[in-house]
Symmetry: C2
Subunit: 347 residues, 2 copies
DNA sequence: AACCTTACGGCAAGCGGTTGCCAAAAGTTG
DNA sequence: CAACTTTTGGCAACCGCTTGCCGTAAGGTT
């Protein structure tokens, strides 16, 4: 009836006070080999129901938690996914982080959050340094070049968000449609002179937005302006607002809400009325867009859901299911949320 | 001159295409034992400068990145810290996450972000499940009871934020001072009937705020009301606003900005003017507090810095420096940021 | 020159799991 | 009931890195 042979440890009730129990302790208590415990936990069908129950009870009694480290070492998987965002300061990314966090947690995977500070070097660096500590990556608004992206995606599973890529699965926001809706809205309010307020030049979505803007506005015969680039923060809004006013445009489509809100503040300070004198359309519908002053008309998209989808796609890539090939592209729908920052063009 | 003996691998230029290089590959290339490589990387002074250089070059050439998993397994440290927040949805926590993220990254430690969904069970669970995968924990606004906290803090290093604890190092916000300042502000504007709009009952800071509010307002001879609890989200603002109006109070101190902003929206919808009819003071000075309508008077505190401090305290606990005992308590200063949601009491 | 320190680097035993391989046990079948 | 198949569980070799212990060569002392 030896209750604990080799080690001097005594796995008695709770066993909370000792050094954390290992798989060996469980095996001992259940009277089986460690390999059996391992199997009972990982592939239950591989072991006899009776022994399995015994093992589970032992594990529960010892309050056993497998070490993800050790598991990772031998299995080669970390059960963690890194999420890289350009700027953790930006509420937009919070939404996506929420989405990934949620879905990742549901899958029992740990989220490693990384702020790349809008720098492609940091991004590359993180990708490199963490290749051993994460099973896959989600690149939000990646600043990488196509070539870099292609290379990286070859050596590790990843999915990009808001950054088209031919080499990796991507979830995108339907920007073209969004811009067209926005322009349509402006047109229907009688605006003829429109301005695009640009964000970071390295941002793919910025390029995309401008491209569609230019095309569509031209098609409509509008007078087009473009100002920027601006860093996408409220603090850049003042400069952007001043520049926008100077173009003579009556309607602006702004790279993102942060910038747009900054502009709103400046315009108010300068006594320029929104929307009476100028209409502003933001993008992303971030937290705050609904209660700023005036509430911001903006391009909405289910960002949080986009995060979830990105995770699903990555997970599908990591655990290739039987049958269907994983989805390579998801496009999130957009719609224009019309609030009070847009109105009829001044006479 | 055997250039690669045992394994068939050929560590030639780049070696990017092979399976990732291990410490063994580096050792082989540099012509030393793996232990030496390990030391050269961890405690450079422990090896001869010449060999160290050789090793570093080898590592660089192979593009070697140590496996944090393996490192953790043998050293018993994970080089990761888990940050537990009650609600990742709440901008307030974003600020603290930013702070921890920043400081953690500076220390080369990975941040594991966990959303405990305002549940003490989930919190306990995470604490338990992750004890092997994190070296320490930062508990933001922990929902744990004192007893739980005491127990947990015994088995693993942690620091609490915005949750007093005698058992663990804590960083707090100087709530008493803040509430007193707020009340003083209200008093100076002629308000006599004040109302505290409560947040989650399990929130320590909520209890604290109420306690100080009650004390100080009583001392000033004000008429005191209390409504709530409300979930700290903008969506609860409507109910809170209606209830607040009903109390007849002319000045409200609200658990947090989220709730306060929600109230602002409702009051506006109901045609109740802020601050002409009612003054509102929020707490936290979150993103958006400055551009809501009207801009919110609120209790500000360097939240992001609090996150950094929390990390420092935790790190100090993990690597006990020679000399001084680590700090057990940090109190972040607060000040009242007066914007436009407070004004003279109605006549 | 003989002796003692020190600094440096190697050996090997783990850390806590996973997994391929194999033998014993249990279940089938004619 | 023997021969055969399928389950079930144990053995042991790793996974990649750290670290205590120890031998050796280099430098310092009288």
């Amino acid at each position: 009836m030896a209750d604990s042979g080799t080690t001097g440890r005594n796995p008695k009730a709770g066993a909370q006070r000792d050094r954390p129990p290992t798989i060996r302790d469980v095996a001992e208590l259940a009277g089986v080999a460690t390999s059996t415990v391992s199997r009972a936990l990982a592939r239950p069908e591989r072991v006899n129901p009776r022994t399995r129950v015994r093992i589970e009870e032992a594990a529960a009694q010892l309050n056993y938690v497998p070490s993800s480290q050790a598991r990772g070492l031998s299995s080669g998987r970390t059960n963690a996914v890194a999420v890289l965002v350009p700027d953790i300061t930006n509420p937009f990314y919070f939404d996506i982080i929420r989405g990934t966090q949620h879905q990742l947690k549901a899958a029992g995977v740990t989220q490693l959050l990384v702020d790349t500070e809008e720098s492609s070097d940091m991004e590359l660096d993180a990708l490199h340094k963490m290749r051993k500590s994460a099973d896959g990556f989600i690149l939000a608004a990646s600043r990488l070049t196509d070539a870099q992206l292609a290379e990286v995606s070859q050596s590790q599973p990843l999915v990009t968000f808001n950054r088209a890529s031919t080499s990796a699965p991507t979830v995108m926001i339907d920007t073209p449609s969004a811009i067209i809706q926005a322009l349509e809205h402006l047109a229907s309010l009688g605006h003829h002179k429109v301005c695009y307020v640009a964000g970071p030049p390295t941002s793919w979505s910025n390029q995309m937005r401008w491209k569609v803007f230019e095309e569509d506005a031209t098609k409509r015969g509008m007078e087009i302006h473009r100002i920027g680039p601006y860093t996408p923060k409220t603090t850049s809004g003042a400069a952007a607002a001043d520049a926008a006013v100077r173009t003579g445009a009556t309607g602006c489509i702004v790279f993102n809400d942060l910038l747009a809100i900054g502009m709103l503040q400046r315009l108010k300070a300068r006594g320029i009325r929104v929307p009476a004198d100028m209409s502003i359309i933001g993008s992303d519908d971030i937290f705050g867009a609904d209660f700023c002053n005036p509430p911001l008309t903006t391009i909405s998209s289910p960002i949080e859901q986009a995060g979830r989808v990105a995770v699903s796609m990555l997970l599908a890539q990591l655990n290739p299911l039987s049958g269907s090939a994983p989805r390579q592209l998801a496009v999130m729908p957009t719609h224009l949320t019309i609030r009070e920052s847009t109105g009829p063009a001044p006479a």
